[in-house]
């Protein structure tokens, strides 16, 4: 099983995690810029964080044979802090970097006017820099938040095929499925979404445009739950090719739309999988 985790905050994880992930088949990750648990009080803190996502962290990952890309954005929670708003002015320079494969995480936390503005501005940046967008949906008031998220995406004019709406569950998947956006599911150790529930969603809605991630960070989370989901799929009767589609080819196809995804230094995939031509992107 080869696994691409399309949403994981490796900055918060140890080298032991990298080793366990590589041993279990995780060969590539995307690390979205997000909230660090402790509020930041000035744009310089973000600049150092973004530099780390494009410098030290990919190097650290490479020591374990894992390919690391990033998404860059001002996250919705900190978009509410006036001291952090100037981060929006830093973004254009970062969005031009080779290692950036999407704008994200953008979206809503508490659905405030400040979040509205940051979300809209950053979807426009995604269009300007020809990048996909990774959209976080709120954990509180999720269904209403997801509906409002989809309205903003539609108004922005971005191609829905270049948007992943993340942290979906049984209640919100139906809202997103017919919009053309990609469906992101974060698998957590408890609550939210588990491997067996994910398998049921795949049985009901199919594998098309589905992205499965661990969203592992500094909280209670597990970077191997992508692998566990693949095993649960096999146990439920999905084929190895289904698992490869969901855990590798789908995330590759989504992020390859950036034209910057570079998986060229990874070992060649098994010959039965022809999807690898997507991996290098165009541009």
């Amino acid at each position: 099983m080869r696994v691409f985790d399309p949403h994981i905050h490796m900055t918060s994880r140890t080298t032991d995690d990298y080793r366990r992930m590589a041993d279990a088949g995780v060969r590539a990750v995307v690390e979205p810029a997000f909230w660090l648990g402790q509020p930041r009080t000035n744009p310089g803190s973000f600049a150092d964080y973004f530099d780390s996502l494009l410098g030290w962290e990919p190097y650290r990952a490479s020591q374990f044979g894992v390919r690391h890309h990033a998404t860059i954005a001002l996250n919705p929670k900190e978009a509410n802090d006036p001291r952090c708003r100037p981060v929006l002015d830093l973004l254009p320079r970062y969005l031009d970097k080779d290692g950036v494969v999407a704008v994200g995480e953008v979206g809503y936390d508490s659905m405030t006017p400040a979040e509205d503005e940051a979300f809209g501005t950053q979807l426009a940046l995604a269009r300007e820099f020809e990048l996909p967008a990774l959209v976080h949906t709120p954990h509180r008031d999720k269904a209403a938040g997801t509906r409002r998220t989809l309205d903003v995406i539609a108004e922005s004019g971005i191609d829905p095929g270049r948007v992943a709406v993340d942290h979906l569950n049984e209640v919100t998947v139906g809202l997103v499925r017919d919009t053309g956006c990609w469906l992101g599911f974060s698998i957590y150790p408890e609550t939210k979404m588990s491997p067996p529930r994910m398998v049921e969603i795949l049985q009901r809605y199919g594998t098309e445009r589905v992205l499965v991630n661990s969203a592992a960070d500094w909280g209670h989370s597990d970077p191997l739950l992508t692998v566990a989901t693949g095993e649960a799929m096999l146990a439920a009767g999905f084929t190895a090719d289904d698992v490869d589609l969901v855990l590798w080819r789908n995330p590759v196809a989504f992020y390859a739309q950036s034209g910057r995804l570079d998986l060229s230094d990874l070992p060649a995939p098994e010959p039965s999988y022809a999807g690898s031509s997507l991996a290098r992107g165009g541009s």
Partner: protein, 199 residues
């Protein structure tokens, strides 16, 4: 590599017209440099060059962009401080070719403070002649420590002195105490320094 060697290494690169256009643009409008410099990596390609496997078209193209831009000092510093690792490597490789005197020293010192072997190795290229002997020696010992081949260090034998030998001897003793070996190129360097002192 010199500028003419860089250009000579690029004929097989399909996107070299993108590069000629980008060079012309930064000559007339240097404010376009940051965006063009950032994009050069993926536009020109990241595969090793046929004749120089330690270089890529993207790296060579970025160095040529730096050579093309007028009024370089502040722009070069800005590209490093706002660059990702690939961009920083290109700036470090370009320093020795640019007429900027000692202005690049803080960049090289920064690269030597990192834990990224690519940056540390690039910091000890030809521009390292601007580094103080103490900083340079620390850089060489750091290479040994991190396993960077000493062949990457410019003018190694010319600058290697008794103080460097003392530092390497100390490292060798620590390694021996831990049951670990010194890299062969470091032991060979130590022997050459000691030989030179006896002559």
């Amino acid at each position: 590599m010199r500028a003419d060697e860089l250009r000579g290494a690029l004929p097989g690169v399909p996107e070299k017209e993108w590069l000629s256009d980008a060079e012309a643009r930064v000559r007339t409008d240097p404010d376009q440099l940051p965006a063009l410099f950032a994009r050069a990596g993926r536009k020109l390609g990241r595969q090793p060059l046929a004749d120089r496997p330690d270089w890529t078209p993207g790296l060579a193209g970025r160095v040529l962009l730096l050579l093309a831009v007028p009024h370089k000092d502040d722009r070069v510093l800005d590209l490093y401080w706002h660059g990702d690792t690939g961009e920083r490597l290109a700036v470090l490789h370009a320093l020795a070719l640019l007429p900027i005197g000692d202005a690049g020293v803080p960049l090289v010192e920064d690269a030597l403070r990192t834990n990224d072997t690519r940056l540390v190795a690039a910091a000890l290229g030809p521009y390292a002649r601007h580094l103080s002997p103490a900083t340079w020696r620390q850089g060489v010992v750091k290479c040994v420590f991190m396993g960077v081949p000493l062949s990457r260090v410019d003018r190694l034998d010319e600058r290697a002195d008794a103080e460097l030998a003392a530092m390497l001897t100390g490292l060798a003793q620590e390694r021996a105490a831990a049951g670990r070996r010194m890299p062969a190129d470091a032991t060979a360097l130590l022997n050459r320094i000691q030989q030179k002192q006896e002559d």
